[in-house]
Amino acid sequence: MLNKVLIALGKSISKTSQLLNRGNGSTWPGHVALTGNKNFIKQILAKSKTKVIIVAGTNGKTTTASLIRTGLEKNGFSVLQNDSGANLLNGIASTILLNVNAAGKLKQEYAILEVDEGTLPLILKQITPDYLVLLNLFRDQLDRYGELNTIVNKWLETVETLSERTTLVLNANDPQIAYLGLKRKNTKYFGLETIKGTKDHPQHAADSILCLRCNKRLTFSEVYFSHIGNWHCENCLLKRPAIDVSIFPESSLKGTYNKFNLLAATLVLRELKLTEGQIGKSLEEFKPAFGRQETINYKGKSVQIFLTKNPTSFNQSYVTIKDLRAKVLLVVLNDRVPDGHDVSWIWDVDLPELEKFKHILVAGDRVYDMALRFKYDNYQDVEAFEKLDEAIEAGIKYIDEEETLYILPTYSAMLETRKILTGKKIL
């Protein structure tokens, strides 16, 4: 009975907030529901037949969740997915609340929930997922999450108490993710098989370089990016586990990091009994989620946005646009709550071959910090703009019709950029 009242209340809050045009009210109804009943999520899910897939990790959550959703929907299943802006407890409660029917049950066959890495332990107290997909852990927003090791320790504790029923889907190439499944039966690994087999070094921004079992430095025979690679410990002989899925379907998604998102999604879809043909066909038309390699036509010119949140995603975006022969680059660095207040990480990124750019522009709350980053890599002609719209206009003028303006924004900067490019507000 209590839940019915909370659902009615939550739905009316959502409607009112939409009418007042205050975003889509994506987290308020959940806040109200959890205040009224802290076991709201647990109870609704217990009543529903919906299978739950949780996706967590520093980078790639939204893309992986969207890939799984696309694979399932194209093959005739009904799916519920939360917005990337609603990946904390309130947001997930809201997503569930707004989708229940009159009987207080979810009607979808699958719920795919992307969950913030700090919130995961709390969520797993409420939800026992059928699949828990853990993608990677990189340094990100230390001011909000604390040190990376704090998160690794919390995840270790959480996984130890996880039901055997949950299938753990892990990245074999991230040492601290792979370690989570070593003592557990119901675990599947995705990853890339090594081609090189020589000694290799993690990138400067790499994190997981000490063995979780014995605290000695790990050795890599191949590094794909950051600390993601074929690793082993020469001291205690711990090594990358055997990989269950290392082949993924063709896709328009660019960059090594997306190979891992595709691998994770492929593994889950295979577990859900889709055939290779079904998976390949459904994912080939996959359209990126907003702001993630999304291309927007603006004033007759092409603009592509690569959401860039931390050193690893910056490095990967940078390598990808270099492969696309980018000539004009705009980096937008904000330091608001969703971006993290600390912008120190820009000094952990690697910027090879800057001289190949015709123009580099910077904007955002921390425009001068970003300008200094380029200046000190000897790109003296970096152009700094205090206003984002002026930076975009300048960037557009610099490109020819067949060229693309590449924009690397942090999260809140991505929302602002899209607003300017599409003329509308999202979220």
Binding site: D143, E147, T150, L210, D348, R366, Y368, D369, Y376
Partner: protein, 269 residues
Amino acid sequence: MKNISHFSSLNFHLRIGWMFPQIMSTYGDRGNIIVLQRRCEWRGIEVETLRITEHTSDKEIASVDLLFGGGAQDREQEVAMEHLMSKKQPIKKLIENDVPALFVCGSPQLMGNYFEPTKGRKIEGLGIFDIYSKSPEPDEQRLIGNLVAEIIVENIKTKPYVIDPSPLLVGFENHGGRTYIQSNAKPLAKVIKGNGNNGKDGTEGVVYKNALGTYLHGPLLPKNPGLADWLIAKALEVKYKKKINLEPLDDTLEEKAKTAIARRLGVQV
């Protein structure tokens, strides 16, 4: 950027020592090395960086003209301390010989008398700074955010080292530990906005001889070019045994980045 010819002709050469970069580099600490290198190169001073590891010999460490240390994560701090202890003598000798040094983020804690990684555990530090660091009390928060402080060490503020002496120090702090200065060391700066060494006594950082420590983490020097130049000038002075006047550089962007943060925190510049 122009190369200043009369400078290159002097054939100045500096070797920067970077302590254990593989584990003591939590968040953009490398920015300091990049800034020191460029500000030397742009003036025609030859510069190289020695990455100090557990395999570096004492003799190589003794050849360092300017020492830098970044922060380690908690799990890595004890491993870092083991490495540091194995190089205690050559590192202390550098500092006693007036070689300038900069320790940012958590590394000043490792350079003190002792620190507590967790409540009740005490680990001996290198004993360079007369300070000790305690882990926070259960009711105490991590100290996180932008910080503006005023440098109060006269020798850093005055010419000839700093071309445009700006006494403001601007950066980002993120630490659980609380550091207290004892009699044989002095604070580097007085907090204007932010928390500083312990959130209580209004001090930030520590100075002993030409070694500076600060909780400000990551890229301290990009926004504090005056401090970078002080370190470079001091390193040259100690190495070549004469006063050095550094050629000025165009620091317009650096000043804009610095004043943007100071103004945001309500500090008039």
